[in-house]
């Protein structure tokens, strides 16, 4: 990227760089190389190497405690908020090393958005304020632009029609599912290049979750005990996995 630290405004001006899918090799969003993560003495992720394609949905599956959350939190440096974490290996976002000392974690998080398992709209803010707060606190003042982003983000999160007349109401007045979509709109408003979602299906039953993972995702990575066991096109992982552990997990014969 020409300018390693574009401001939000600059990135907003610039039309989204969407490489053509007709290229022979699909462009990569993340290149994760030999990534290991420790919490104190405990090794949470061991030597994971994984390429994440652009313009595609990659799902990470695995039993609880296998390092899924830890792994995705490394992709926007959110894991640094936990004291005593240590990381080895590298993560490249469109070719740029996220862990280079010249990179500001705040900039990384602007480019790589995140939606959390538990919906968390800011309780002091209205629905509208919740959506544009990321832009506001990153210095965007133009009211017209904020209004445009507000509507567009809510539409993308499939929430606009339900809340367009209640934008001034508190974000916490919405139902649980609406609150989560509000959080998605809030994350989309700053126009991240990637959106990480931590357990987006946690409110669904396991069968529905598996169906959604299978239907929506293009690629699937299976994690077990902090290791990447298998990674490939979702159809292959779900119908014809190469690893025994993957097959056991998918068919529910696990553990």
């Amino acid at each position: 990227m020409a300018n390693p630290h574009p401001t939000v405004a600059e990135r907003v001006e610039r039309p989204a760089e969407r490489p053509s899918t007709a290229e022979p090799a699909p462009p990569l969003t993340f290149e994760v190389k030999n990534l290991s993560i420790w919490y104190g003495e405990k090794r949470a992720i061991s030597d994971v190497t994984l390429d994440v394609a652009s313009n595609a949905v990659t799902a990470i599956i695995g039993p609880s405690g296998c390092g899924k959350s830890t792994f995705i939190r490394c992709l926007n440096r959110m894991h640094e908020l936990v004291p005593k974490t240590r990381i080895e290996g590298s993560v490249l976002l469109q070719g740029q090393d996220l862990y280079s000392i010249t990179v500001d974690p705040a900039i990384v998080r602007r480019r790589v958005g995140m939606v959390f398992q538990k919906s968390n709209p800011f309780p002091t803010m209205s629905i509208g304020e919740n959506v544009v707060i990321g832009l506001r606190l990153n210095g965007v003042r133009d009211q017209k632009f904020l209004n445009e982003r507000l509507e567009k983000s809510l539409r993308m999160a499939a929430l606009w029609d339900e809340v367009k007349d209640d934008l001034h109401k508190p974000g916490t007045s919405l139902s649980g599912g609406q609150q989560q979509r509000l959080c998605i709109a809030r994350a989309l408003a700053v126009q991240p290049e990637v959106l990480l979602m931590d357990e987006p299906c946690s409110a669904l039953d396991p069968i529905a979750t598996a169906k959604i993972e299978e239907l929506i995702s293009d690629y699937t990575a299976f994690f077990y005990l902090g290791k990447l066991i298998e990674f490939g096109p979702t159809t292959k992982i779900f119908t014809n996995p190469s690893e025994r552990q993957t097959e056991d997990y998918i068919t529910g014969r696990f553990g």
């Binding site: 939000v8 926007n76 959110m78 908020l81 705040a106 900039i107 990384v108 998080r109 602007r110 480019r111 958005g113 995140m114 959390f116 538990k118 968390n120 800011f122 309780p123 002091t124 707060i133 990321g134 606190l137 990153n138 916490t172 959080c183 809030r186 994350a187 700053v190």
Partner: protein, 290 residues
């Protein structure tokens, strides 16, 4: 079931009812004993002071000794000035210190800071008067509003520090993470998300600290010193309501005694109002916050 066991059951049931009645009565009496002192204080103040709380009391300066009438307007305004001076020191240091404790700081340093703050909260207030007397009054050779404000401000700091820390720790971590994940800088997250979410609790802590120092007399005895006239410069002695009450109460004049009662009534009513404000602020406690 035999007759015997039926009777035993009945006795048991009876005894349980008696115990229940005893326990209910004991808690009710204890609750009354909690409310009684406040009721007694208010009643006593009303009986003795209400007749002297009149328009003159709020708009006139004290009359010279021997002359009846006059008021305490200088002491009321003086108290407000001292509270303002104390706030200038106590609020920023207390709030920022509380934010540091809750958001930054290493565990060991925090433990020490908390310990020191708790010890300071237990220090008798007259000690602050003596300290400020030594540090400020002696050095600048005079009692002053500044010295009084400083003494009160020093009392405020640990009070506000601890309440601010506690309410900030109550803000769920999810909000911090959500803001940071939007690429918002740490300090902006703390100011615009965390402190805003905890603002009611922080304001409550500040109001309670003000109510606490509003009635302090001892730290003012040899700092603000008191004044029977208007204070024209903050580097001069200044009147304060509790000081004036003290001076009038130990005087030999009946008229001054009546005015002391009136002053006490006004002071208690003011502090009562602040506490009611705190109640109103904390009433709308939403799921999230404080």
């Amino acid at each position: 079931m035999t007759m015997n066991s039926a009777r035993a059951n009945n006795d048991h049931h009876h005894w349980r009812k008696v115990k229940n009645a005893l326990a209910s009565t004991a808690t009710f009496v204890s609750a009354l004993l909690v409310i009684a002192p406040l009721g007694l204080v208010f009643f006593h103040l009303l009986v003795n002071g209400a007749s002297s709380v009149n328009w003159d009391f709020f708009v006139h300066l004290p009359k010279p000794v021997g002359e009846a009438g006059g008021g305490m307007v200088n002491a009321i305004v003086g108290s407000l000035e001292l509270l303002a001076l104390a706030s200038i020191i106590g609020i920023p240091v207390g709030v920022l210190g509380g934010v540091y404790l809750a958001e930054y700081g290493k565990a060991r340093v925090n433990w020490m800071l908390r310990f020191v703050a708790d010890v300071l909260n237990g220090v008798p207030s007259i000690t602050w008067g003596v300290v400020v007397y030594g540090l400020v009054v002696l050095r600048f050779k005079g009692f002053s509003a500044y010295a009084g404000g400083l003494a009160l401000g020093l009392i405020m700091i640990p009070l506000i520090l601890r309440t601010t820390e506690e309410v900030i720790l109550l803000v769920p971590n999810g909000y911090r993470e959500a803001a940071l994940a939007l690429g918002v800088a740490r300090w902006k997250t703390i100011v615009h998300i965390v402190m805003k979410t905890a603002s009611k609790g922080i304001i409550t802590g500040i109001l309670l600290a003000l109510a606490r120092i509003g009635g302090e007399t001892a730290p003012l005895l040899f700092t603000a010193f008191g004044n029977r006239f208007w204070n024209h410069s903050l580097s001069q002695p200044i009147a304060a309501l509790p000081l004036q009450i003290f001076t009038y109460a130990i005087s030999p004049y009946d008229d001054w005694h009546r005015q002391a009662w009136a002053g006490a009534l006004v002071l208690v009513t003011g502090i009562f109002c602040v506490n009611v404000m705190v109640r109103i602020l904390t009433r709308g406690r939403t799921a999230s916050v404080v």
